[in-house]
């Protein structure tokens, strides 16, 4: 098994773990945990192809991952801010209970 | 080759005072090479000895500093300080160590023992990692990392997670409140810390700490050292770095997370014995590492302050500057009262971050103006006017008016 195949399989498994978290978790913050795992799996794909693929002088892999990390940070900040606002209003982060639009 | 032949063929400068801190590492490497050990073992053993040297030096400095701090604070408060354990209290750190080691290790019943145990261990790891990349002398950098400054900041962010673990795993209210305060303070003051270091990186053109020190070589006008602190953007960035480093190390006046008069000991409340000693050690080692970084970035690292003083070994200059910076930390601790949490946040976000952001264009203008009189003329107004606006004009609304005491004045 080449290193590239190992890393790609591993990142697919990581992606499915993140997807499992998003689908089965009840706490809104733990769903964000799953989203971060999915983003990391995609980043790992980029780095694996940059390292074990054809040589790229334009550094596409690391650059994409850099922007992906920056955007993931921004999205985590906004997502947590929204969750905390909803928590302030309804005192709960349970998604099963947050199913109506008007408080 | 035998040991004697190896020693004879070694670099003759090995026995000079400049190489003194590297001597244990080189001796172990030569010994292993003469025994015919493989290359990787020689390198590994050399690195172990280098790490051991750094840890040994800074742990003894930590022990000495705990005594010096208590004596300095005592003298500032018009009392004597510890003087019972040995001549002038010199054995006080030994007595403290014995006390910490023999105390009972209490873990609360509602605490999670695994995280409770892991937190003090994890809080000592980042400062020791960070101490490994600082250039202490011309020949003495424990690990040469090309991205040294980025590595330093990256391991510094691990401290926040360990503080959270300590606060949450204790399972009681005071530690959790202390952990919340500590994390928000550390996160807020990390931004001015990193942004003020950006100007230095920009002007030097490299993230490697030995390169930053080498860039500050030379003297202006024959006797003023070319350190980064003696430029307008460097002075501004250096002062911001200094204040932010006090907040990052949780020292007074920013020691709200461990304010003894308010929340007992913050996130360290439920710790006793050796675990508390590890917290203490982590805080002081963090102080050493961030003061060392400040000396490297702004005070020229191991460069001598005057042209003729190159005879003195470079690591002596580094530790002298480090001692001056740490004495100033102790002095500030003895002098200033603690700030409130809202004053702390306001100061970070509304004063330090705008000023830190302004040092970046100031550094760029300075670099392209060549650094002479034109550079000074262009950058000083850029930095001075916003500072005056932020600190004097903007705070006039918040400054307390003169208090009148009804019963005392009558």
């Amino acid at each position: 098994m080449t290193p590239l195949a190992l890393l790609l399989t591993f990142s697919s498994l990581l992606f499915t773990l993140g997807l499992l978290a998003v689908l089965t978790r009840r706490n809104a913050i733990l769903i964000l945990v799953g989203i971060e795992l999915m983003l990391n799996a995609a980043n790992l794909n980029f780095i694996a192809f940059w390292r074990y693929g054809p040589p790229d002088p334009d550094l596409t892999g690391p650059m994409f991952v850099l922007f992906s990390i920056a955007i993931a940070a921004a999205e985590a900040a906004v997502g947590l801010a929204i969750i905390l606002m909803v928590f302030r209003h309804t005192r709960s982060t349970d998604l099963n209970r947050l199913d109506s639009l008007h408080g | 080759m035998t040991l004697l032949e190896n020693l004879q063929h070694a670099n003759p400068a090995l026995w000079s005072p400049e190489w003194l801190p590297r001597l244990p590492q080189r001796l172990v490497e030569i010994l292993l090479q003469s025994c015919g050990a493989p290359d990787w073992l020689v390198t590994l053993a050399g690195l172990f000895v280098a790490a051991g040297t750094v840890v040994g030096v800074f742990l003894s400095a930590f022990a000495l500093l705990s005594l010096i701090e208590r004596k300095t604070l005592a003298r500032a408060q018009n009392r004597i300080g510890p003087n019972r354990a040995g001549w002038f209290g010199i054995l006080q750190p030994v007595a403290d160590g014995i006390k910490m080691l023999t105390k009972e290790d209490i873990v609360p019943a509602k605490a999670e023992w695994l995280l409770h145990l892991a937190a003090p261990i994890l809080i000592v790891v980042p400062p020791i990692l960070a101490l490994g990349v600082i250039p202490y002398g011309r020949e003495w950098v424990p690990v040469r990392v090309e991205l040294g400054l980025l590595f330093f900041f990256a391991v510094g962010t691990l401290t926040e997670l360990s503080v959270f673990m300590a606060g949450w795993a204790s399972g009681s209210k005071f530690p959790m409140l202390g952990a919340m305060r500590a994390i928000s303070q550390m996160v807020s003051y990390e931004l001015p810390l990193m942004i003020s270091a950006l100007g230095v990186i920009m002007v030097t053109g490299s993230l490697s700490l030995p390169a930053i020190v080498a860039h500050q070589a030379g003297f202006h006008l024959g006797f003023i050292p070319a350190w980064n602190l003696f430029t307008p953007w460097g002075l501004s960035a250096g002062l911001i770095f200094y204040v932010a480093s006090i907040a990052e190390a949780n020292r007074c006046p920013f020691d709200l997370p461990e304010g003894e008069s308010e929340i007992v000991a913050g996130h360290m409340t439920e710790y006793s014995g050796f675990k508390y000693a590890l917290f203490f050690m982590g805080e002081y080692l963090g102080l050493f590492s961030i003061a060392g970084l400040g000396v490297t970035l702004f005070l020229g690292g191991w460069q001598a302050p005057l042209p003729g003083l190159g005879l003195v070994p470079s690591w002596i200059w580094f530790f002298a500057k480090l001692a001056v910076v740490i004495m100033s930390y102790l002095w500030i601790r003895a002098t200033f009262p603690r700030v409130r949490i809202d004053q702390l946040m306001r100061f970070a976000w509304l004063c330090l971050i705008p000023m830190a952001l302004l040092t970046i264009p100031a550094a760029a203008i300075w670099h392209y103006a060549g650094g002479g009189v034109l550079g000074w003329l262009a950058t000083v107004p850029l930095l001075l006017i916003p500072w005056v606006v932020l600190t004097v004009v903007y705070n006039r609304r918040l400054a307390p008016t003169t208090r009148s005491y009804t019963f005392a004045d009558s």
Binding site: A5, L17, L59, V65 | L150, M180
Partner: protein
Amino acid sequence: MTPLLILTPLILLAALGAVWNARPVHAALLLALALALIAVLYLIIGADFIGLVQFMVYVGAIAVLIVFSLLITRPGDEAEELARRPRSLVTGLACVLPVLAILVYAVSRVVKFPDAPVENPSVSIAQVGQVLFTSYAPAVLTVGVLLTAVMIGAALFARDPGKNPQFPSDS
């Protein structure tokens, strides 16, 4: 290859713990561990800059944000989550296993690149900076605008509405 073979199962175990552990704080700390191990993986592969940035941003900022919000919202009562475990596991796996099958099939169809470099490529920070500010300058500016918008939005969320309530949800 051997470091990868050692590191990959560890990351998967930590991610499994983050996804499946019923106690939220433990899950968040296991996520921090998984992210730190992924940063180590990047460093081993040779993406030094990205590895350190991953450590600084993901472990040092995002994981801290997650545990901080867990500290504020203080979730409890894992008994309810544990009670629904069997049914949620079955439905979760039913939705997730087809995705895994498609991904593994796609991986198996990847053409093997003939000249993969044996040793790690050395990328200097000067090269990164050059590429970032010439080829990717529009992206940098866009991300700057995005982050400013995020900061303003988060500050708006966090403000104390008691002083001047403007929205019906404020009072």
